[in-house]
């Protein structure tokens, strides 16, 4: 039943003034098809946690299990949508989306069929021959999501994918992402510092503490979808979550000022 499991993940960095503990004994389970949001103050180690799930960073302790099997290296079964998209500027939109399929050796006809299907889903069909710099920030993130979905991953990992967007574009992408989730039933782990975004999107929100990051509290969210960011239950839940992490945010702000 559990798709993804983290057991006792601990990660520290050696710095000039000793050891910096980033993640402290984090364990969590994500069910198949579940949409989990991880919230916490900036710099708390959310991205590190996601990188560890993706296999892009290694923890000192603990293990990551996918379908009950331990995973170490990075692989398209846990596909990451990066904060700034990380699209390749030397490729067209179509070539970007089919990059992973090409790497996997999917033959051309099949590859283009899959790619075009996801481009259509993200309303990008008209732009398949555009280069990345010709797109708006919102379109770039839609390409990045299409690129992630095209690989048909077991788990889709999203690292603050909407942080750089204006509010209108973000609202639109919130709707699209919920739509995709309900259609594909993908397991999604979504990291954000935006509490309201987490309440809008997730089946379950995990609030992290600041340095070292631990899971402070879990919030199951059972409101019907599609939700909008200004829905009153979203706003109320966000208030509740924020009350829980307010101290952590303040600690983050004051410690980051001292540095």
């Amino acid at each position: 039943m559990s798709k993804l499991e983290l057991r006792g993940i601990t990660k520290y960095y050696e710095t000039g003034n000793g050891r910096l503990l980033a993640l402290n004994n984090i364990s969590l389970t994500v069910k198949d098809g579940e949409f989990v949001c991880i919230v916490g103050p900036s710099g708390c180690g959310k991205t590190t946690l996601l990188n560890i799930i993706a296999g892009l960073e290694k923890p000192q302790e603990g293990e990551v299990l996918l379908d009950g099997r331990q995973v170490n290296d990075t692989s398209p079964d846990r596909l990451m949508v990066f904060q700034e998209g990380a699209l390749f500027p030397w490729l067209t939109v179509l070539q970007n989306v089919e990059f992973g399929l090409r790497t996997a050796g999917v033959e051309k006809g099949k590859r283009q069929e899959i790619t075009r299907r996801y481009l259509e889903m993200m309303h990008l069909s008209k732009f398949e021959n555009s280069y990345v710099h010709q797109l708006s920030t919102g379109m770039k993130q839609r390409v990045a999501i299409a690129r992630g979905l095209a690989m048909d991953p077991q788990v889709l990992l999203m690292d603050e994918p909407f942080a750089a967007l204006d509010a209108q574009t973000r609202d639109m992408l919130h709707a699209e992402l919920q739509n995709i989730h309900s259609r594909t039933r993908k397991t999604i782990v979504f990291v954000t510092h935006n509490v309201r975004e987490s309440a809008c999107l997730a089946d379950r929100v995990l609030a992290l503490t600041y340095r070292p990051a631990r899971i402070k509290k879990e919030f199951p969210i059972n409101f019907p979808r599609p939700r909008q960011i200004e829905d009153h239950f979203v706003v109320d839940t966000a208030k509740m979550i924020f009350a829980e992490i307010k101290d952590e945010v303040q600690r983050a702000v004051s410690e980051q000022n001292v540095r």
Binding site: T74, R78, A86, F88, F99
Partner: protein, 262 residues
């Protein structure tokens, strides 16, 4: 956008050359300097046509370009190999990079002396000097280009399953391409300069040799004609090959869409 500035560029260039020729002709007409020290544009033009008619210029260009091609290709092969070795080994990168930057500002013509002693007065010596002119800018271009590749690109590609050769040829190399092409362009112009210098000293055919030949005959018209040929050959490759390539990359990446004027 770029189309518009292209059409403006040609009349600009024509106007510039017309003014240049006008001033040249004027100075000649005032007879400030004796004719054998300051030939007129028409005299240089007739020298140019004469040396084309008797085949001297074509042979010179062909000889120089052959040496240049061999030297440049060797520079790319060795430059890329050293650059990649520096990427692989942090120690090599740390030590060779400052050395390479230093040797780039070193006048490569100084290599003529050891080259003559090692190889004698022959093509090998000239090719060696050419390679020493271009090698390090290609080395540094390869090294810096790959080293400065955003780790996010590499992470994203690895996450999508790319490893080894695929990661290198389909991600790291294209990501480094703007830097690499710009250093290939520099390398080419360094190679061209070094070669002409070497040919002037070692004198066995080639455009540099033709320059010295003109000097020995006290034929300044021929000297200027050869200089024009050297300039033209440089421009043809720089503008038709490297600038086009760089513009193409810049447009794709959205770095800049405006080509730089004359």
């Amino acid at each position: 956008m770029s189309g518009k500035s292209r059409t403006n560029e040609i009349p600009d260039a024509v106007l510039f050359l017309a003014v240049l020729l006008g001033i040249w002709e004027l100075v000649y007409r005032f007879a400030i300097y004796p004719t054998y020290l300051f030939p007129s544009p028409a005299m240089v033009a007739s020298s140019l046509f004469a040396s084309i008619n008797n085949g001297l210029l074509q042979i010179g260009i062909l000889t120089s370009l052959t040496r240049l091609a061999i030297g440049y290709i060797l520079s790319i092969v060795f430059g890329a190999a050293i650059g990649l070795a520096m990427v692989k080994s942090a120690y090599l990168g740390r030590t060779l990079r400052p050395f390479g930057v230093g040797i780039q500002s070193f006048p490569s013509i100084a290599w003529v002396s050891p080259a003559i002693l090692w190889f004698g007065f022959n093509d090998y010596a000239m090719i060696f000097v050419t390679v020493m002119g271009a090698l390090f800018s290609i080395t540094l271009g390869t090294y810096d280009g790959i080293r400065n590749t955003s780790p996010t690109y590499i992470n994203a590609a690895r996450n999508m399953g790319a490893r080894g050769a695929r990661l290198f040829f389909f991600v790291m190399l294209p990501a480094a391409s703007p830097k690499i092409v710009s250093e290939l362009r520099h390398g080419w112009s360094f190679a061209w300069r070094s070669l002409i210098g070497a040919e002037m000293i070692m004198a066995t055919l080639g455009l540099g040799h033709l320059l010295m030949y003109g000097r020995e005959l006290n034929d300044l018209s021929l000297v200027f004609a050869v200089m024009i040929a050297i300039f033209a050959v440089g421009q043809v490759f720089d503008r038709l090959l490297f600038e086009k390539l760089q513009n193409k990359i810049s447009q794709r990446w959205g770095l800049s869409t405006e080509p730089i004027g004359l």
